[in-house]
């Protein structure tokens, strides 16, 4: 029992944190309507991955990978370098996302996804209705156009004048 605790719970505690953060982030993205909160969730989600990388490069008792006299053991530097790049990517994503949210707020006056989608659906429904009306009108101007479906109902051509 103690072994299990030591190996799985305490021994892997960094991974538990990673997965905890990952789930929190993911849940936030899914569950929150507010676009800013979604973005924050996304950040938490990404951060968890950063921790995953950095913790895998760590060695017990090691120092930072800086050349210091007398210190032989240091952490694997590559994951940290990689994550530096990933952090840059994350920051750019956040910046772009926030910029989009500002634009969305300007255009819609809302930053709740439901409200924005509702506005979109209203526009789309109006457009669809217009298109349907136009299609119907185009059909109406055609000679002996079928009403709805071409099910073979009676259609007698009108006698030419």
């Amino acid at each position: 029992m103690m072994d299990f605790f030591n190996d799985t719970v305490a021994g892997l505690f960094n991974y538990w944190i990673v997965f905890g953060l990952m789930m929190i982030g993911f849940y936030t993205v899914i569950a929150h309507d507010n676009l800013v909160k979604k973005l924050i969730g996304l950040n938490v989600f990404q951060t968890s991955v950063f921790i995953l990388y950095i913790s895998m490069g760590d060695i017990r008792g090691a120092t930072a990978p800086i050349l210091i006299d007398g210190q032989a053991i240091y952490a694997h530097p590559l994951p940290q370098v990689l994550i530096l790049t990933a952090i840059v990517v994350g920051v750019s994503t956040t910046a772009l996302g926030l910029a989009l949210i500002v634009r969305i707020h300007e255009a819609y006056g809302a930053i709740e996804e439901d409200d924005v989608l509702a506005a979109d659906f209203a526009t789309q429904d109006a457009e669809d209705a217009t298109e349907q009306a136009r299609s119907a009108q185009a059909r109406a101007t055609e000679p002996h156009a079928p009403a709805d479906a071409d099910d073979g109902a009676e259609r007698e051509e009108s006698r030419p004048s």
């Binding site: 993911f26 993205v29 899914i30 569950a31 979604k38 996804e113 439901d114 989608l117 509702a118 979109d120 659906f121 429904d125 669809d128 349907q132 185009a138 059909r139 055609e142 000679p143 002996h144 156009a145 079928p146 479906a149 071409d150 099910d151 073979g152 109902a153 009676e154 259609r155 007698e156 051509e157 006698r159 030419p160």
Partner: protein, 567 residues
């Protein structure tokens, strides 16, 4: 010097494609040259080609032979090119460039398919006929024509896909793509058979003929009536000659379209049904598979193209001048369109196999072949069909269109070029009947036959006399079936009424199912259900934008799926 004749470049099909290009880019003044002259020149080219397999082309890993010239393909190619020239003349007054381009591409594809020496080439041109011909329907530019055209195209493409799949299977099974006798021994053979059957209008696969042909333009219907179905007959003769199954199929084909033709109101649709019935004669002949029978099928195809084309031309002229070809609205046109009336009667007599007209010399070969093979039942069926056929297109079409009750139409005679084309076709119908030797000399197989024996002539005249008598009696007793207004749905009910209803039912149930699922999963169940309710008026369940949350749920689902499967 004549090396180039063995190359793919010497294909008459390419000549027609080139003509189509010329029509597309040159001024209208020159169109007559391309529409009539090029097919005529291509005809000369066809006869200049030496017999054998030529025109080898390499395409995506296959060696294709695009020019196979032998008795069978030459005869079919010749009649296709001849009729392309005649229809070109008929359509000269049509201002719509699109129709001319489409008809030349269509004719070219049909000729190319007939000359194809392998299944892949056949398939390429087979698809070509489907795609190019649909424009002749769409060119009527009505919503209805569009819907019918899409339906037509889908059926044609299904036939093409079956041919393609069949070819792939056939090639895997035999290692060869040569287009010779295929037989029904393998899955590939069956698929190809089905593909040919769709285009040949086998019973239950036939609806597209009656559906589409009457909806095309004046010019388009004439062109359509010539190529697709006869191409299928050629393909059957090439691949499935002597397949016994064809005899019952053909026998059914000869009878049952006529029943619909009896009650149909739209005269072009009447002709479409009769076209289907005549195809039955050819299918039976191919099923017999003896040289005489195959010669009969070939001869009947030639005769049939001519007289059916002529009948469609005359109805086209009526439609062009009067604006309708409904039997219930026509009558008494012989006063204003006397020439067209004469041509229609010639076509009707040719189709009824009156002695000295074309079908007499061809249909009797098929009956003769049946007699030699002692197939009494089929022989009787075909005789009945011939009798009925004499009543329906033979008497009904000219009678209702040109005589019957005068409806007071005082229209102009058909345009000159139409009259010219109809006249030439009518002359050919008579010439074939009077001088059958010329046609017989072109037939692909060795078999001597003489249509003009005393007994045969007398038999046929008796049959026709009875048919005429039956019509007169029925009509006088007011028992002749009334022309039913509107469309007669036969088996196409399945996809024109039942299938759309089913699809609609399925769509609605899937929408409500999704709504319920969403209701369970979504955090704001009621709100989600609300917008779902308002969202699915149009577009359907799939097409609406999802919230990011729902999209991500799917990501999780998929990831979980992978992980579960892997562990």
């Amino acid at each position: 010097m004549s090396d180039w004749l063995g190359q793919a470049i010497a294909s008459p099909a390419l000549a027609l494609f080139f003509a189509a290009l010329l029509v597309a880019v040159t001024p209208r003044l020159l169109h007559g040259l391309w529409l009539v002259g090029v097919p005529a020149a291509a005809l000369a080219l066809l006869f200049a080609l030496p017999e054998g397999m030529h025109g080898t082309v390499s395409m995506f890993g296959h060696e294709l032979s695009t020019l196979r010239v032998d008795g069978l393909s030459r005869l079919w190619g010749a009649i296709f090119l001849l009729s392309a020239a005649l229809t070109g003349l008929y359509g000269l007054n049509v201002k719509d460039r699109l129709q001319h381009v489409a008809s030349l591409l269509y004719a070219g594809s049909a000729v190319g398919a007939v000359l194809a020496g392998d299944l892949v080439t056949l398939f390429l041109f087979w698809e070509g006929t489907a795609i190019s011909s649909v424009f002749l329907i769409w060119a009527r530019r009505t919503v209805r024509a569009h819907i019918v055209g899409v339906r037509y195209l889908i059926i044609q493409v299904i036939s093409g896909l079956l041919l393609m799949v069949g070819t792939i299977i056939h090639q895997r099974a035999t290692g060869s793509i040569a287009f010779n006798t295929l037989g029904l021994d393998s899955a590939g053979g069956w698929l190809i058979f089905l593909s040919f059957g769709i285009k040949a209008g086998f019973p239950l696969l036939h609806n597209w003929i009656q559906d589409a042909y009457p909806e095309a333009t004046v010019y388009g219907t004439v062109v359509l009536s010539i190529f697709t179905t006869k191409l299928a007959i050629y393909a059957l003769a090439r691949g499935f000659a002597g397949t016994d199954l064809l005899i019952p199929i053909g026998a059914v084909m000869t009878i049952f379209p006529l029943i619909f033709a009896l009650i149909e109101n739209d005269l072009r649709r009447v002709l479409a049904y009769c076209l289907n019935n005549q195809l039955g004669f050819m299918v039976v002949a191919i099923g017999i598979g003896t040289p005489l029978a195959l010669n009969g099928a070939a001869a009947h195809a030639v005769a049939h193209i001519l007289y059916k084309g002529l009948l469609f031309m005359t109805m086209g002229a009526v439609l062009y001048r009067v604006g309708t070809v409904k039997a219930s609205q026509l009558g008494g046109l012989y006063r204003s369109m006397p020439a067209t009336t004469v041509f229609c009667i010639v076509g009707a007599m040719a189709s009824s196999a009156v002695p000295l007209f074309s079908a007499f010399v061809s249909k009797s070969m098929i009956q003769g072949a049946l007699g030699y093979e002692h197939m009494a039942v089929v022989w009787v069926v075909l005789l009945v069909a011939a009798g009925l056929g004499a009543i329906v297109p033979g008497i009904k079409v000219p009678f209702f269109a040109f005589f019957h009750r005068d409806r007071g139409y005082r229209v102009k005679e058909a345009p000159f070029n139409m009259q010219l084309a109809m006249g030439a076709t009518a002359l050919l119908c008579i010439a074939v009947g009077v001088f059958p030797g010329a046609l017989y000399a072109l037939l692909p197989y060795e078999a001597t036959y003489n249509a003009y024996t005393l007994s045969h002539v007398i038999n046929q005249l008796q049959l026709l006399a009875f048919a005429a008598l039956a019509f007169v009696l029925l009509y006088a007793a007011r028992l002749f079936p009334a022309n039913v207004r509107g469309l007669n749905l036969d088996t196409d009910w399945a996809y024109r009424r039942a299938l759309p209803a089913l699809v609609e039912r399925f769509r609605q149930s899937s929408v409500s199912l999704r709504a319920r699922v969403m209701h369970v999963f979504s955090r704001n169940g009621s709100r989600a259900a609300d917008w779902l309710a308002s969202a699915f008026g149009l577009g359907g369940a799939m097409a609406r934008t999802w919230t990011t949350g729902v999209m991500l749920l799917w990501v999780i689902v998929l990831l979980a799926l992978y992980l579960v499967i892997y562990y």
